[in-house]
């Protein structure tokens, strides 16, 4: 929201600096995002009168002028301008001048003739027709006024200004205007507000047309005021008006259109002007568009409308898209003689939705989206008519139609106590201060002891209760008055992470120690990611929740598995030259309860890990998984092959906990990895974290240290190549039940020395005492004999 200082000064006597004003606005809730300075650079560009002009002796295109520059004396100026003549008063940049562009001008010499300055055009002064009519022309700017000589142009034209770009909070649509901001400034500075002039005199004529207005949808258009102005003379608006419009970024068009824009900026009420002669039957109907109905807007674009778009129609056709843009068919033309002003309130969310769906936005729609109040709607119509008279742009007729939804405007009343207001703040703002602030904000206030009753001004539809009053008070009184306290009246509560939450951190830290770095990836991905998994159909990974309005196909489905997300991360790292890495994430997956989402979905956390490059293989990942289980006193069965379409059938395993499969891990298939441009082996593990964490917290019991030394024996065995380590270990353990503590594979060898179809496997077996007496080497000899017997008998495995 832009507000020029000069305009604000029309309503408030601002006697502080622009910097101080910025601070005042900030403190009461209006952040100034930028202050644009106008005319701040222009210096020593002054008026002068051309006394004589002669041809430059050495240059055909140059002329040498003698000028009277007042206190700067009579100067010789060399110019290439053709549009100046003797007697003209023009701007001249004298020695040491700064132009609007920031360029400096010094005395010089052009082809042998000294020049003590430079004539300026609009561009050098930084202005166009909106600031001084004629300034948009090429060449030197020739003033029409008989300005005194040697005076700064910036002062004579009133070019110095500050335009505040203010961000207005969503609950203050009443401040989306110069007047609205001025009201706040008046309160902050403790100055009276000078309202704009709303006065006009309607002059009726028998010939004035009768206008009919019908509002078919009063919900979307609670108020519609139409007023007829006749005997219109379409002209340029005066510079005081075009200048203000320009400072606020609006181009001048003609007096009628400029008046609507001026009112929009000044009061925050969008208006529209129809050329009466284009309105069929002189009638207006506000209704929802028919599906497929078309309109060509002022910017000459054809739009196809639907029933959610509100349109203004004449007797036959749409003539405007309500609150957004007028139709080309009813545009004000240079020959327009009668104008019907529209000043209405349109429901803000309807304007917003239409604006978004049609991709059409305007200063008008932006104001309506924030909300306008009917009090201002009415006043704005008066202000426009006042300006018609002021600009002598036409005759204000008595033809006025005001259609209201019928709900009278109510000023919000709040009955409360000073205690409640101060109770919100936690400090004691004196009663008279509270009353003073509210009165300055145009609330009417009645006090009875501790009771206070306030009636908000009509444009303050946001004030509903004492907390709102507390906010009004503190933002004007100053938040620096708040004295920080630490919940002095609150009850003590115990806080912190729950056991479960602490465990999650412990899991993360365990993985971090194992070399895995935590990643965070989006909860959604593409349908392509699911395709990459090569699912057969029916797997849960594919049964996903789809986002209705994704911003891109890449973020379209809520994930059931984290594997694609982590593969994406692996791929990105490889592409960026990170040759190896270990990553993990604990994040939610989202499962619908039925076919469609008509209940809250189930949000279950998964733990996913990925490892690539370096020494990584199936067993390093297995190691990390075991480390995790050991840290929580759990025992996983990792000895059953997994059946995941995206895991290598020979290099993957289920993760089984207490007989239940809670996940899988292994090498990603070449096909799935290929979908992420990964050309090397990559390993992943994914576990249902909810099931994992449910098993945490088994009570820990200290295991007494063995009383007698353990005895280790190495066994080098020859087995069929297809026997697994697990099978051999199982036989070793079961053949000597209570005395085997640990079986560790330390070497595997295949080759000529063991023969075709065979492999050699070397184990270290640790034996412990099962009873309360030490075991001897002789005992162990016996165990080994039993083990070897069982291996031979059950698996055909022999000692090497």
């Amino acid at each position: 929201m832009l507000a020029p200082l000069s305009w604000l000064k029309e309503f408030v006597d601002i006697d502080c600096t622009p910097e101080e004003l910025e601070k005042k606005l900030f403190d009461c809730g209006f952040e100034v995002e930028e202050v644009k300075k106008y005319g701040d650079k222009l210096d020593r560009v002054v008026t002068c009168k051309i006394l004589s002009i002669r041809q430059h002796p050495n240059a055909e295109r140059l002329r040498v002028c003698e000028v009277d520059a007042g206190k700067y004396g009579v100067l010789q100026i060399v110019t290439n301008a053709k549009n100046v003549k003797e007697g003209d008063i023009v701007p001249v940049a004298v020695d040491g001048a700064t132009l609007a562009t920031g360029d400096r001008i010094y005395n010089g010499n052009l082809r042998g003739e000294p020049s003590y300055g430079m004539f300026c055009g609009g561009e050098e002064i930084g202005i166009d027709d909106n600031f001084y009519y004629g300034a948009s022309e090429d060449g030197v700017l020739v003033f029409r006024e008989n300005f005194p000589l040697g005076e700064e142009v910036v002062d004579l034209l009133g070019l110095k200004d500050y335009v505040f770009d203010i961000s207005v909070l969503a609950n203050r649509p009443d401040c989306q205007s110069v007047l609205g901001i001025a009201r706040e400034i008046a309160c902050a500075l403790g100055k009276p507000l000078k309202e704009p002039d709303y006065g006009f005199t309607a002059k009726a004529d028998k010939s004035d047309e009768k206008i009919t207005v019908t509002v078919s949808d009063k919900e979307l258009c609670p108020r519609y005021i139409a007023h007829l102005v006749k005997d219109v003379k379409i002209e340029r608006s005066p510079v005081w008006m075009t200048r203000r419009l320009a400072l606020c970024g609006i181009n001048a068009i003609n007096n009628i259109v400029d008046i609507t824009n001026y009112v929009l900026l000044e009061l925050g009420q969008p208006m529209h002007a129809f050329d009466l002669k284009t309105l069929e039957d002189y009638s207006i109907e506000v209704r929802r568009a028919k599906d497929g109905e078309k309109i060509v807007t002022l910017d000459e674009k054809e739009l196809t409308l639907g029933k959610d778009n509100l349109v203004i129609c004449d007797g036959k056709k749409p003539v405007a898209l309500a609150g957004i843009m007028g139709g080309l068919n009813s545009e004000i033309e240079s020959d327009t003689k009668a104008v019907l002003f529209e000043c209405a309130k349109f429901k803000r969310d309807n304007v917003r939705r239409s604006s978004r769906t049609l991709g059409k936005s305007s200063d008008s729609s932006k104001r309506f989206e924030k909300g306008v109040d009917e009090y201002t709607t009415e006043r704005a119509s008066y202000r426009a008519l006042n300006l018609i008279e002021r600009l002598d742009a036409g005759r204000v007729t008595a033809v006025r139609v005001d259609v209201s939804a019928g709900k009278p405007q109510e000023n919000r009343e709040v009955r409360t106590t000073f205690k409640k207001i101060n109770g919100v703040l936690g400090i004691s703002v004196p009663k008279d201060v509270i009353v003073g602030i509210l009165e300055k904000l145009n609330f009417s206030v009645t006090v009875d002891g501790d009771n206070i009753t306030t009636v908000a001004p009509p444009y303050r539809e946001d004030v509903e209760g004492y907390p709102d009053l507390a906010e009004e008070v503190i933002r004007m009184y100053g938040y620096e008055h708040i004295k920080p306290t630490l919940l002095k009246k609150a009850r003590t509560t115990s806080g912190g992470y729950s056991k479960e939450q602490k465990n999650e951190l412990k899991v993360k830290n365990t993985l971090v120690k194992a070399g895995y770095s935590e990643v965070m990836t989006y909860s959604f991905y593409s349908k392509k990611d699911i395709a990459a998994l090569g699912l057969k159909g029916g797997e849960e990974e594919g049964n996903v929740i789809v986002i209705e309005n994704p911003i891109s196909d890449n973020y379209e489905v809520m994930r059931r598995t984290l594997v694609p997300s982590l593969l994406e991360v692996v791929s990105r790292n490889l592409k960026r030259g990170n040759a190896e890495g270990r990553i993990f994430e604990i994040a939610r997956t989202y499962a619908k309860k039925g076919e469609t989402v008509d209940d809250f979905p189930i949000e279950h956390r998964h733990l996913c890990m990925a490892a690539f490059g370096g020494e990584e293989d199936f067993f390093t990942v297995k190691g990390a998984i075991e480390t995790l289980s050991e840290n929580f006193g759990l025992k996983f069965n990792l000895g059953v092959r997994a059946e995941k379409t995206y895991l290598h059938p020979g290099v993957s395993a289920k993760i089984i906990l207490g007989g239940e499969e809670i996940g899988a891990f292994g090498q990603v298939t070449y096909e799935t990895a290929g979908a992420y441009d990964i050309e090397q082996k990559v390993y992943v593990a994914e576990l249902d974290y909810e099931k994992l964490s449910a098993a945490f917290g088994a009570p820990f019991r200290f295991e007494p240290l063995p009383r007698y030394p353990e005895i280790k024996r190495d066994l080098a065995l020859v087995a069929d190549a297809n026997l697994t380590c697990g099978e051999i270990e199982e036989v070793i353990r079961s053949s000597v039940k209570n005395n085997v503590k640990q079986v560790e594979l330390f070497d595997v060898y295949t080759g000529e020395q063991v023969g075709e179809g065979k492999k050699s496997m070397a184990f270290t077996v640790t034996f412990v005492a099962a009873e309360d007496k030490p075991i001897t080497q002789e005992d162990v000899d016996g165990f080994v004999k039993r083990i070897l017997g069982a291996l031979k008998f059950r698996l055909g495995v022999s000692l090497r």
Partner: protein, 341 residues
């Protein structure tokens, strides 16, 4: 005999002086002094052959030779040990500027680190941590939070919808409703988690993290809110840090404030980080709107409270000097590995 002894002495000296290693020394020791085969012990055998009257004197001479030899060997041994020790240390000397060998650990994600820090700070003040659902319905995400039907936040433009009834939460504030409808006041909770908005550029990610704080009790004031947030910034940023309130607007708090922290980079003098203002915006908050309490069946005349919401990502970025939010979600290991606890 004496001549022989002198000869042996001479031999020992000449041979021992040549010895350079403890192995050579040991060999000479074996040759001269050790066991039965040693030359000096051998002399004792010869003693038996000598005349009886000569024996005491000879014995004395041999003994003194023994003592001399033992001293001499001991001295020499110490010398060689010292020498060998020095050689060994010299030989084993490494280039200490060569790269270190490390068993590389992973790192926690910066968002996790900041979240834990925040939780630790608030845990001490009695806040429990709640993680509520991410897929919400209209009631929890908007209606109960006093966000009217016509509020722009409800636009499909900004919110990811699953269907007309369900959406990805756009903030952690629905956690307030979840808490207010299930827990009995008084309580203090933190609700951290993922939130989603349809926005994707250098400063916006379609998914990011927020943390909601909610205190419900009796007679809670703006002073309490600032006191708690002062505590937060002192622990999070620096001992000297303080907060500044400025008026703002959220449908679910009234009054609402935007909270700035004094710039921890320049201490408030004004720098690039705080864009010369001395303050950095870190969160929003306010007194819980009475309507929110009513919507959750909590009597606003009996209980009051404050709520605040902050962007965990934003704090992580501010603390770590990250200027693009996507650094947090690209998961480039070169970036992630920089974040230590």
């Amino acid at each position: 005999m004496e001549e022989k002894i002198q000869e042996i002495k001479g031999q020992i000296v000449s041979e021992l002086e040549k010895a350079r290693t403890s192995k050579e020394l040991f060999e000479l020791k074996a040759k001269y002094v050790l066991g039965k085969a040693g030359i000096i012990p051998g002399l004792m055998k010869e003693l038996g052959k000598a005349a009886k009257e000569d024996r005491p004197k000879l014995g004395q001479i041999i003994n003194s030779l023994k003592e001399w030899a033992s001293d001499y060997f001991a001295r020499k041994e110490a010398e060689i040990n010292e020498m060998e020790k020095n050689i060994r240390y010299k030989e084993e000397t490494v280039d200490i500027t060569m790269p270190a060998k490390k068993r590389e650990q992973g790192t926690l994600h910066p968002v996790t680190i900041v979240k834990s820090e925040l939780v630790d700070i608030f845990a001490g003040m009695g806040f429990k941590v709640l993680e509520t659902q991410e897929i919400e319905d209209d009631f929890h995400n908007f209606t109960a939070l006093n966000t009217p039907e016509e509020h722009p936040a409800r636009d499909k433009q900004d919110t990811f919808y699953i269907n007309d009834s369900f959406m990805l939460r756009t903030h952690t504030s629905p956690g307030q409703i979840r808490t207010l409808t299930t827990m009995k006041p008084p309580f203090k909770v933190l609700i951290p988690g993922r939130v989603y908005r349809a926005d994707d550029d250098a400063t916006h990610s379609p998914m990011f993290h927020q943390m909601e704080g909610l205190v419900i009790d009796k007679d809670i004031t703006m002073c309490d809110l600032q006191g708690m947030l002062d505590e937060l910034v002192r622990k999070m940023f620096s001992k000297e840090a303080k907060t500044r309130f400025r008026p703002s607007f959220f449908p679910f708090t009234e009054p609402s404030v935007e909270v700035d922290v004094s710039c921890f980079e320049c201490g408030g003098k004004g720098c690039k980080l705080c864009k010369g203002t001395g303050w950095i915006e870190i969160l929003g908050g306010g007194i819980v709107n009475r309507k929110v309490l009513e919507n959750c069946g909590v009597s606003p005349d009996k209980y009051t409270g404050f709520a605040f919401g902050l962007g965990i990502d934003r704090i992580a970025m501010l603390k770590n000097g990250i200027n693009n939010i996507h650094i947090l979600y690209e998961n480039d290991l070169r970036a992630l590995k920089q974040f230590k606890d």
